[in-house]
Subunit: 350 residues, 2 copies
């Protein structure tokens, strides 16, 4: 059997005490140098730094947390029960939308040396477990990403004294900061683009209308068309998923055979719609122009590539982190919010 020098023996990590002894100073002084918490004579700082390196010292987080009452950790909570045919939290992890958000969060957290704990909240038991987790002091605050408009978590977290920042405005007032997109503006941009292409028979595939974002996109789209002289826009409701987009498109083709423009409130639904149109013998974009929403990977990769409304998810994620850390550092502050602008990305489908 192969034998390497692995797992030699984990001799106990050096403590502050050890470093202090090596440096010939007190524990307090070493602590001050490490945390830059008070002036220390430069030559002593140097001695301490050398001792830290010599001993390979690394502070024990549990001990520090015990006294500071901070964990220097944050949680990312993905919430959402499987309502209608919308995404459940579990499925959501495979959504490219989520991947981009997570990438942004991790990147923004990295400079602080913190790695987010990932949690799924799919039911009340999960909510309880997550709340307990925070109450135990495992994390100082939460980043909430939810596919569900009704949420108990903001209130629960607030009750255990943990600030939270939500992606998207909550459906009803809740004790959370949030970061959101100007969805209405996004819908308007989609309508304007389609109108400028000379289309006159628009339809819409909206997201679940109990979600504020879906409502807003739809309202903006209708508003845009109203200004372009089209007062009524037939619409079908989907659940942001591929399948629901396909289904909604079929329904709309039945109801409005003469349609020539589609706005789907997510790229996945746009992809489903395009396939449904294809199956019905319509060409995209020649016969029907399609605009999606999000600018996720499928928009770029599918054929025809989907013209879409881009959400600057990475920047939004970074802002969420900024807001959260700000509230953790200043527990007195209340919730705030930031709204980002959407951007039209023109590709092949419209």
């Amino acid at each position: 059997m192969l034998c390497y020098n692995w797992s030699m023996s984990a001799d106990p990590s050096p403590t502050l005490e050890d470093v202090a002894r090596v440096a010939g100073v007190s524990r307090a002084t070493v602590s001050r140098v490490i945390n830059e918490t008070r002036n220390v004579a430069p030559e002593i700082q140097e001695v301490v730094r050398r001792a830290v390196i010599a001993t390979g010292y690394v502070p024990n987080r549990a001990a520090r947390s015990l006294v500071t009452r901070r964990s220097d950790a944050v949680g990312v909570v993905v919430a959402g029960t499987d309502l209608s045919d919308s995404l459940s939290a579990g499925q959501f992890l495979t959504d490219p939308f989520f991947g981009r958000l997570l990438t942004g969060i991790i990147g923004a957290l990295k400079p602080r040396g913190i790695f987010p704990a990932l949690m799924l909240a799919e039911n009340e038991a999960d909510d309880a477990a997550i709340t307990a987790y925070f109450k135990q002091g495992n994390a100082d605050g939460a980043l909430l990403i939810s596919t569900h408009p009704e949420e108990r978590l903001p209130a629960l977290l607030d009750a255990v004294g943990r600030p939270a920042v939500r992606f998207a405005r909550p459906a009803r007032p809740a004790p959370v900061s949030y970061v959101d997109l100007a969805h209405r503006e996004g819908g308007r941009v989609a309508a304007n683009h389609l109108a400028s292409l000379g289309r006159r028979r628009p339809v819409a595939i909206s997201g679940p209308l109990e979600i504020p974002a879906a409502q807003e996109r739809q309202a903006g789209y209708e508003e845009g068309w109203a200004r372009a002289g089209c007062a009524f826009v037939p619409a079908a409701e989907g659940g942001f998923t591929y399948d629901s987009g396909e289904r909604a498109m079929k329904e709309l083709l039945d109801r409005v055979p003469e349609l020539d423009a589609v706005f789907a409130a997510s790229d996945l639904m746009a992809q489903g719609a395009i396939h449904a149109l294809h199956d019905a013998g319509r060409r995209v974009p020649e016969d029907v122009a399609v605009v999606g929403f999000d600018d996720s990977a499928p928009a770029r990769l599918s054929r025809p590539a989907i013209t879409t409304i881009r959400q600057p998810l990475e920047a939004m994620a970074a802002e969420m982190v900024r807001l959260l850390l700000e509230r953790i550092d200043d527990p007195g502050a209340g919730p705030t919010s930031v709204i980002f602008d959407p951007e039209l990305i023109v590709r092949e489908s419209a």
Copy 2:
């Protein structure tokens, strides 16, 4: 301005001491009841439980960690530098493959009440930060998911006494447990399926050949065809991505115009290949049959739906968790490994 009863005042959490006082017993007894660490008279247990509920007590994790020297946390490390045109760790997060794995990990960890910390390792600085994180006692062990065959992390983590379980066998011996798929068998199954369809002009789009899994799939595929009487299989190397699949397919169409069967080592590459075939005027599956690998969402959703080799990722993720927790609970144990079987999923493309 609206004013709710939010953030009333975070009165300090009750401690063990408080519970003990309420229950009229000692701290030690309460601790024993909570941790079920020794026999306690049933009636006293009952009294203690009542006191815990009455006070709303929840143990402070930092204090516990300080003495147990365990954090009851684990990290999920996503590693991989951007080699050639393979996926970088950041992009990888948007990969459905990763989403499924993560879902499996979170699900398997939930019963233990632990939520994984997510970290990206894209360069040596990240490796150092991650190693320090573990050394600080933030997590007891790591689940490694890498797109990169060369890895420093297993050795680094081992050096700080933290067990690790890797997804996929490491390229060279390393102090990690791992869970993997019988990739060779998967390649063989793909070849057999295509052969049974009557195809006789096979080609392959492999993954990056420095990755063992890609090698094995390719070897199995060639072996399968060899048994079916086809000694030589033209192949092009891709990077598991959509674009690389498209490119490789174009190249193969040039080199082997008469091809009638393609095995792509990932569904994403299969999707790219199908589009390239389509652009070249070939029908799938009538003219060319295509088999992918992974059974990821694109395989199910794209048209034609892709016949593929399924990796039981959720089960594999659960096994990774099991192996890791086992090693955390028994620090004496050495690395082990488990291999899973692939499964052919027949859809439209072959």
